[in-house]
Symmetry: C2
Subunit: 181 residues, 2 copies
């Protein structure tokens, strides 16, 4: 950020009075511009013993497999965001049931919130952000070609929980490493 | 938003190619400026049969009682955000244990994520954003003077769940009404 979005004049990085962090502050109109983490909402769509994955048609991680998920938008609930992303990426007709994983990614300022969801039918197909959409059994999951560690975290828990037919919320933090996300 | 924060020129509201929502787009450098919901992280601090509330020293809802919570910052996890807010607002020495309530507030573009937490000692006191900090039994809760409906939602669930000594994650959406938040 170089310019104030309210008045167009230059901003400077400084700690505002009463604050303890550097913010972009307008040197002209004094507006303080905060930056905060984004929520990525999505779901794990289930059909019988299979789960649905999307092959990414966009960067980052083009060509890798992911669960349908994306940035939550203003004016919507988490549930609506998760459902919308499933339609956009997989044209999936599903019902989100309960929140399943919540993962903080402090190094990229994101919080993933993924639901469990039931596919209502098999009329899914690749949306514009996907190259392909497929159902996978546990044995078929492309573990080495998953797009993000949040997806790995969620799938590992799912197959473990499925043995006990109990799906509590899992919560974690994934720190920066030298790999993707 | 009136000006581009990257180049200082004017922005216009339009739907970018491949998108389906209006965004602020710079007419000069073409930067798309996204706006997304903020996460409010906090906790419900417990001491024996009491819970800790803070009386707000700031707007909105100056003078009303709330749980320690505030905007999650970049570079931190949800857990760190909840702990930091408890220190800032109540100088509370506590350990957050598990995520307890998750509430979407689409009309104000916020998602509340509140933890259960154990107070480690009674050395709490009002931080700069609080007029007062006190412990309350269930009977003492100032129900008519709570700051936000998210706080009401969380406390109601807590006292109900305490009867069964079982504290599952509660998830909901609070829509706009004619009252506060």
């Amino acid at each position: 950020m170089k310019y104030c979005s309210e008045c167009g004049k230059g901003v400077e990085l400084k700690i505002p009075d009463g604050d303890n962090r550097e913010r972009h502050v307008c040197s002209h109109c004094q507006t303080i511009h905060y930056k905060n983490p984004n929520v990525v909402a999505g779901c794990l769509p289930v059909w019988e013993d299979k789960i649905l994955l999307c092959k990414r048609a966009i960067e980052p991680r083009h060509g890798f497999w992911t669960l349908p998920a994306g940035f939550m938008e203003n004016d919507e609930s988490l549930e609506q965001a998760a459902t919308r992303e499933s339609i956009e990426e997989a044209n999936a007709n599903l019902e989100v049931t309960n929140i399943y994983t919540i993962v903080s990614l402090p190094h990229i300022n994101q919080v993933y919130i993924l639901y469990l969801a039931k596919l209502k039918d098999l009329n899914f197909s690749a949306g514009v952000e996907s190259l392909d959409v497929q159902l996978f059994t546990e044995e078929q999951i492309p573990w080495d070609n998953l797009a993000f560690r949040t997806i790995n975290f969620t799938l590992k828990h799912y197959f473990e929980d499925r043995k006990n037919n109990s799906f509590p919320v899992h919560h974690g933090t994934i720190e920066k490493n030298n790999r993707y996300q």
